[in-house]
Symmetry: C2
Subunit: 338 residues, 2 copies
DNA sequence: CTGAAAGCGCTTACAG
DNA sequence: CTGAAAGCGCTTACAG
């Protein structure tokens, strides 16, 4: 079923068929109607690939993502798709093997995508440059590239970590620990840096540290390492909620500790589960909707020709105080024993 | 950057460039090398759209899905993408507004997709027919179309519901309730039908019923409706885990009931959270990996020419017994009061 | 407002 | 093994 068939059926030229399907093109209403009718009868739909070829631009955005098990990302994928669909774009998803997306990127670049969105994945500066010269705009969500001038959207991770430090110190904690995510993820690094800075500014060091790799199992191990000792931390800031929940589960059900009576737990992201009654997790929100909105806007701005307003968009999220971290000194205790 | 440019650079014809990128084409090793070199220097990649146009088939599979908040589906999306990528296909995702995907489907059909996968979404038999005549194979995952001969992959939902009834009756429950998902989703209907059949076969009726629409909030309401009464059920079979967890949270933290001491809860899916220590949810597994494998195989079989082996693939899942449903009669109680 | 012609970037018979 | 030519399904100047 091609435009030629429709043209023949409607008794017009192929050009008119094309115009009938192009909003704002100059066609007589009558001609357009004849084309629409013929198309309906034949079950014709314009072929988007052929159109892309000739227009030298597609309406497809490539989305590269590495983790879908962290419940923050399904929300992101959903928000991205809906927003892009609303603007007439479509999403070609690509699940990368690991955070480094270089190899997978080569594959997706076979498709003439209008732009690229990378969530929880990064590319080398070499490939970033290659895309730049090929004229394919890229926006990174939740990651940054060290040495290439890519556009990125992140939460204010440093500030979030800093806020957590203040909160924990204000409520009298003296032995705060940190559980990191992936070693080279900028989110984890920034959250830790802000946290440490906040601690040191008030004269404290991080009492203990472990790495959970942003996985559930990794976080369980990290919790055991940190807390199955004689003198455990009195609080732990976990680099994301996904891990924080694993930590709470381990603390309570494996080690028999009470949260927050024995130890305070704070996460990052504010995923839906954080609000569940079983956890009531105190956490720093990472506003998925607003971040996605900013990322998609930045990308489409570039796709549609202009250069983006900003290179690094940082979106502030609030500390959401629930019940997994105690709010004041424990009764009968004057500041801890350190 | 086109094959023409590469041809010029390598001093060969455009045909040779094409052959150099076609596995198994007859080119001299030397020619191929020259092309590869030139391509590398110019940063050339064959344009997949142009190739699709001429081959009259693409390597893109459309994936339509409606719910990403139910944690069963991120696993499905991930499994689908990885499997399809492994076979050289790519995924164009489309989030539908609601379960009825007809309108959204029209849009995605602008792309010459090789096939269509629909998860937690259905299409009308009219549109199913239209795709059939257009030669676009469709596989439904977790839904069935009433009156069109589409191929579908589902868990054995009827049997799962039946098994739950037996389990609940064996362990002495006398007032079993059911919380349904979406009214017209075949998963919910089949699970309920099997459950009722299992109950009736042993002389019991469903004690109470509510609808949760497969959402967290809907399930919270359903739990209140069912349990905030003078004579509540002694067990509840919830149409999926996502809702079952909402039910457990409400039962425990809003109504102050103990699970399973006061009431048993059983879910469906075996999502990751079901195994968490806070829930230890007894549930019927829905084997995501196996279901996706079957769905992708069935789809690619059709895409690659042959008709599929089966129309309705049903995959059996086990009842996974954990701690959210009691295993025997409560002490001092001889069978309930009904 | 409309049609004939050229061309988007590729592949594939067809000759050689 | 290789190249010239035609054509996949569309759009877009260019005339009229």
């Amino acid at each position: 079923m091609t435009s030629r068939d429709v043209a023949r059926r409607a008794g017009v030229s192929q050009s008119s068929v094309s115009r009938a399907f192009t909003p704002g093109a100059s066609v007589a209403a009558k001609t357009r109607q004849a084309v629409i009718d013929a198309a309906r009868q034949l079950g014709y739909r314009p072929n988007a690939f052929a159109r892309s070829l000739i227009k030298r631009q597609s309406r497809i955005i490539g989305l590269m993502i590495s983790q879908l098990d962290n419940p923050f990302y399904p929300r992101v994928v959903e928000a991205i798709s809906r927003r892009l669909q609303a603007s007439g774009y479509h999403v070609l998803v690509f699940l990368t093997r690991g955070e480094d997306a270089d190899d997978d990127l080569q594959e997706i670049l076979q498709y003439p995508v209008a732009g690229l969105l990378m969530a929880s994945a990064t590319l080398s500066s070499r490939l970033a440059g290659e895309c730049a010269t090929a004229g394919i705009p890229i926006v990174l969500l939740n990651r940054a590239v060290a040495d290439a001038p890519t556009v990125s959207v992140t939460a204010d991770n440093w500030q979030g970590g800093f806020d957590v430090a203040d909160f924990l110190l204000d409520s009298g904690h003296r032995r705060p620990a940190f559980i990191a995510g992936l070693a080279n993820a900028s989110t984890s690094r920034d959250r830790e840096a802000g946290f440490l800075h906040g601690l040191r500014r008030r004269g404290l060091d991080c009492f203990a540290r472990a790495v959970g790799d942003y996985t559930f199992a990794g976080a369980e191990n990290a919790a055991l390492t940190l807390f199955d000792v004689t003198s455990p931390p009195d609080a732990v800031f976990v680099a994301n909620d996904h891990m924080a929940i694993a930590v709470m589960e381990t603390l309570r059900h494996v080690l028999g500790l009470r949260v927050p009576a024995d130890v305070s737990v704070i996460g990052y992201d504010n995923v839906p589960q954080a609000a569940w009654a079983s956890y009531r997790l105190t956490t720093v929100e990472q506003p998925a909707e607003r971040m996605v909105a900013a990322a998609v806007d930045a990308l489409l701005t570039q796709v549609e020709g202009s250069s983006p307003a900003e290179q690094r968009i940082v979106i502030r999220g609030q500390l959401i105080v629930r019940d997994s971290a105690r709010l004041s000194l424990p009764p009968g205790c004057s500041g801890g024993e350190t």
